[in-house]
Structure formats: structure tokens, C-alpha cells
């Protein structure tokens, strides 16, 4: 029980790639994280502020020992992270959390909204590695705010892009695009819907999956401190086995939960 499992890593920024005015992909030299991370897991990054910032893992390059993170600037911490330059160092805890469960699945449909497309890209990467059939739905506000479109298109699977503004494949939310996809899709056993994005979008996706009797996993966000399960500040309300509701820790019991247990 008293192993010295390294959880804190001092990592160097390899490169930084700006996607648009609000979003940046950071590539970190973090071989230990790259070696063990599973899709849906996240890291907790130091910045100039008091608390760390949780960011999902977008992709790993295992051989190069690199980890990619997609960062959307919403406040001072993410702004600072998006401004990191090659050679900068930061302290990273990870990989953290309970990711998506892919075991036993034959087909996966990822449904991402906004920066939710980042961690789902890692799901796609792993599905390819494991030979799981995978389709993708990505929703954005508009073509201008769309991100990772080339990367998703490059996956070579069926991919639908939706935009509220109507300037991509489907006009509407990611859930609308998912509906369109599910209508035409021949049923395959062991199909699951995995979703990440704004809460109302995930709720709509979960409802749709339920209608189609597909299991659904959702990646929740909650304000965190430790990220490792000791402080209980990241409580998510879930339905327990006995039907009562209770709190689970987003950081270690999640961030990925079965849609069925989530109390929306």
C-alpha cells in the first residue's frame, strides 16, 4: 500500500498551437502520463492562481511521450495556460479520474459540444487502436467557433458537424445531429453513446440515447480542488443503486458517469 506512485509531474511544454481566438492546443512532454492515460481522464495543471486547473486529455502520442490538451480560454487561469510557450514548465497531476468505459463495445458514437470535442478525440484515437467502430458528432455555435474539424475529418469515420448558426453539415445542436445519425444508422449490438459538452446538450443526448435504448456515458464538469478524491468539493448528484440520490466525487468517481445515474 505504500508505493511511491508518482502523481505530480514537472513537465515541459513542447509546443502550442492556436486554433482560434479562444482555443489553444498545448503539447506537453509527459511520458508517464502518455503511457497510462485513458480517454476521459484529465490532468490538473498548476498556474499562477491558487488552485490547479482541470483539463481533459485530448490525445496522447505514446511513443513520443507527449500529451495534448485542448484549452478554451474562459478566465485568467486558462488564459495563462493558453499563453504557455515551448520550454515553459508546469506542474501536472495526472492522469486523473475515471474515464470512458470502452470494454466490450463494438461501436461508439461520440457526441461533443464546444470544447467537449477535445476529450472525445482521445476516445476516437483509442477506438481506432482497439478496432472499435467509431462515429463522431461535433457541435459548435458556428463554423467560426468550430475546432478540430480537420482532425475529426481525418479519422476516416462517419463524422457529422453541427452548428447552431447553420453553417456546417447540420443546422442545430449536436443532439439534433445525433438524432439524424441515429435515424439512418443500422443498429449494431454493443453500441454506446459517449458525450461531453455543455450540460443541456449532454442531457438531450442522454435522452435521445435512452429513446434508442443505447447506453450513454457523460463526462461531467464540477469545480475541483485536489482532483484526487480527498477533499469532496467536486460533488456531483447521482442516483444510487437504492434509488436515493447522493453525491459522488466528479474527480475520481467521474468525471465520466453512466447517464442513467446522473441527476440533471
Amino acid at each position: 500500500m505504500t508505493c511511491d506512485h508518482p502523481i505530480e509531474h514537472l513537465v515541459t511544454v513542447r509546443s502550442s498551437r492556436r486554433l482560434n481566438s479562444q482555443t489553444t492546443v498545448l503539447t506537453l512532454e509527459a511520458p508517464l502520463i502518455a503511457a497510462t492515460a485513458a480517454p476521459g481522464q484529465f490532468v490538473n495543471l498548476s498556474c499562477d492562481h491558487f488552485l490547479r486547473r482541470p483539463i481533459g486529455i485530448m490525445a496522447v502520442l505514446r511513443h513520443e511521450g507527449l500529451v495534448e490538451l485542448g484549452i478554451r480560454v474562459v478566465g485568467d487561469g486558462t488564459r495563462e495556460l493558453a499563453q504557455k510557450r515551448p520550454g515553459d514548465q508546469l506542474s501536472v497531476l495526472g492522469p486523473l479520474g475515471h474515464g470512458f468505459r470502452l470494454e466490450g463495445l463494438q461501436r461508439v458514437i461520440t457526441v461533443g459540444g464546444g470544447s467537449g470535442v477535445f476529450p472525445l478525440f482521445f476516445v476516437q484515437q483509442v477506438c481506432r487502436e482497439r478496432g472499435i467502430d467509431a462515429l463522431a458528432v461535433c457541435g459548435y455555435r458556428s463554423i467560426d467557433e468550430s475546432i478540430l474539424r480537420d482532425e475529426y475529418a481525418g479519422l476516416g469515420c462517419q463524422t457529422l458537424f453541427a452548428a447552431d448558426a447553420g453553417d456546417l453539415d447540420v443546422a442545430g445542436h449536436a443532439a439534433d445531429a445525433l438524432k439524424q445519425l441515429l435515424c439512418q444508422l443500422p443498429p449494431v449490438p454493443q453500441t454506446a453513446v459517449l458525450t461531453c459538452g455543455p450540460r443541456p446538450m449532454m442531457q438531450a443526448v442522454a435522452a435521445l440515447a435512452r429513446d434508442y435504448q443505447l447506453p450513454c456515458q457523460v463526462s461531467l464538469e464540477e469545480r475541483m480542488a485536489c482532483g484526487i478524491g480527498v477533499c469532496l468539493v467536486c460533488a456531483c448528484q447521482v442516483r444510487e443503486a437504492d434509488g436515493a440520490t447522493g453525491y459522488q466525487r466528479c474527480c475520481v468517481d467521474g468525471p465520466v458517469f453512466d447517464a442513467e445515474v446522473v441527476v440533471w
Binding site: 511511491d4 502523481i7 505530480e8 469532496l232 460533488a235 456531483c236 448528484q237
Partner: protein, 305 residues
């Protein structure tokens, strides 16, 4: 080599570094990242007689050099703790301190009675949680209630009873004196300061419980002052907590009069904070030519006295 062993009353600790309550769980997660037998001890997450779900999220708000939390004593209740967590904690090779909170004197007493029969090393009475409406901080803000609670609790157990006080009072000295009169074996200073953070866009409190407890380096000067103040007034061993982030901070608390210290929020930023800080303390002592950490205790020389 620096001697690290310290005494807190009758309890011997292998070193003065304890993990504070609420920031270390029951040690299970932390054991993955460090050898817990290197610690002086672990204070459990605050326990109540019955399980508690805790407060609605969000439960954390970042502040300048600190954070507010409003967990609200989420815990599985004493029974589940004794069955599922205590055996694990006991195995880690360090002291086990159980942090207990009650709605009423009766609840505190019942918990202490039950803990008396268990292999815990000490009971830390949480008289200071700012995040629950009942008991706790209300009792901890009233000298008479503190005294009477501790007196009654002491009837129920032979375990050392530590009184963890709230800083949200006019006179911490009066509260400490009351704890001493009641028969406390040690005084733990401090729990969090009651604070508020506002999301200026939504005009809502950030915390689902509206207010929360402020912890971290922001509160260190207040904690240090209270330890120094109380150490001049009571004869009990003191345990210092509040904003300790490194070995130097920890030694300052010893100098102010603490026999041991607890590390809270630092563990949330850095899972290995407790063991790191112990190492820093011994390294500083060595550089200082101090051969025993206990030598620091109470060596603060005030000006003009």
C-alpha cells in the same frame, strides 16, 4: 540527523506533521502517492453519528492565496467509518486522530463513547465547522458551551480529546481557556474563517451553500497570531493549522508555540505536501543546527517583554 518525535500530551508522535481533517480523506487515496508511515498522524475527514450528504455544489471557490470550501461534513457516518475506513487507517503506521462533529452535546458524547472502544489515538472535536447550520461552530463560539461539552465528552472516553477551535470569535484566548477548564488534552488552532465569494456576472454566491470556510496561506497570519496568543494563556499542548505550505511555515508555528502542526489545503495543491513539508522541516533544522524539532516549540521572543 534531526530528532523529529514530539509529544502531544500523553500521545507520542513520530514527528509533528499531521494531515488536517477534510483534506486527506481517510488516507486511502493519499496512500497511493506516499508512504503514510512517514507522517506523524492523520486526522480523519469530519465524522458525524449518521451519514451526511453534505452541501449542494459548487463547494469550492478560489480566492487570493486561498480557497473557500462548503463541503458541509459529507461523510459516511461513524459506523461505516469504523467498519470500512478505520482498519485501513490503522494499518498505515502513523497516529490516527478522528475528527468528530455533532449537532448536540449528546451526539458528541455518543460518538466519543463509541470511539473509546476503538484503536484510535485521539479524538479531535470539531467545534468549528462553518458549513453546517447546527452545532459545531455555534458551540465553538461560546465559551460556556465549549467547557461543558468537553467536560461531558471527557466522561465518555479515556482517549485524548483535542478541541479544534474556530477563529471566528472575538477572543480565541477565552475559548481556549474554556477548553482547558473543560479538560481538553490539546487545542487545535484554527479551522477556517467564514467567507463569501461572488460571481459578479450572475450576482450569485459561487458556493451552493452561499458562504464557506477560508483556508490556505491567506489565513496564515491569523492562525499564527492565535497560536501565539493562546500559548501565552493556556498550559495545554497546541496544534497549529492554517495556511502551512512549506517547512518554514511549519517551523514558524512551532516557534509560536505549537507542539505539532496540521497540513490542510496544501495537500490539495500537492498530494505529497505532508511528507514534503516534513522533509523541508528537517532540512531547515539541520541548516540551523537544530537537532530536535521539539526545540523550536514556544521559542518566540516577543518584542518589549
Amino acid at each position: 540527523m534531526v530528532t523529529t518525535a514530539v509529544q502531544v500530551g500523553s500521545l507520542s508522535l513520530k514527528n509533528p506533521v499531521l494531515a488536517a481533517s477534510g483534506t486527506f480523506g481517510f488516507g486511502r487515496e493519499m496512500a497511493q502517492y506516499q508512504d503514510l508511515s512517514r507522517l506523524g498522524g492523520i486526522c480523519s475527514k469530519g465524522l458525524t453519528l449518521r451519514p451526511r450528504a453534505g452541501n449542494p455544489p459548487p463547494r469550492v471557490a478560489e480566492t487570493s492565496c486561498g480557497m473557500l470550501n462548503s463541503v458541509g461534513l459529507q461523510n459516511p457516518g461513524l459506523d461505516v467509518f469504523l467498519r470500512d475506513e478505520l482498519p485501513f487507517m490503522r494499518q498505515q503506521g502513523c497516529a490516527v486522530i478522528v475528527n468528530v462533529a455533532g449537532h448536540s452535546t449528546d451526539e458528541y458524547c455518543e460518538m466519543c463513547r463509541r470511539l473509546d472502544q476503538t484503536p484510535v489515538d485521539a479524538i479531535e472535536l470539531n467545534l468549528s465547522c462553518p458549513n453546517v447550520r447546527e452545532g459545531c461552530m455555534l458551540i465553538g463560539s461560546d465559551a460556556r458551551q465549549i467547557e461543558s461539552l468537553i467536560r461531558q465528552v471527557k466522561q465518555e472516553t479515556r482517549k485524548p480529546v483535542w478541541a479544534k477551535l474556530t477563529p471566528n470569535v472575538t477572543s480565541i484566548g477565552d475559548m481556549a481557556l474554556a477548553a482547558q477548564r473543560g479538560g481538553a488534552d490539546a487545542i487545535v488552532l484554527i479551522n477556517t474563517l467564514l467567507g463569501l465569494a461572488i460571481d459578479y456576472r450572475t450576482r450569485r454566491p459561487i458556493l451552493g451553500n452561499n458562504t464557506g470556510g477560508l483556508s490556505g496561506p491567506a489565513i496564515k497570519p491569523v492562525a499564527l497570531r492565535m497560536v501565539a496568543e493562546v500559548s501565552q494563556m493556556v498550559d495545554l499542548p497546541l496544534i497549529g493549522v492554517g495556511g502551512i505550505m512549506n517547512g518554514q511555515d511549519a517551523i514558524e508555528f512551532l516557534i509560536a508555540g505549537a507542539s505539532a502542526i496540521e497540513i490542510g489545503t496544501a495537500s490539495l495543491i500537492r498530494p505529497t505536501a505532508c511528507t514534503d513539508i516534513l522533509e523541508e522541516m528537517t532540512a531547515l533544522a539541520q541548516a540551523d543546527g537544530v537537532t530536535d524539532l521539539a526545540e523550536y516549540r514556544g521559542t518566540l521572543r516577543l518584542w518589549g517583554y
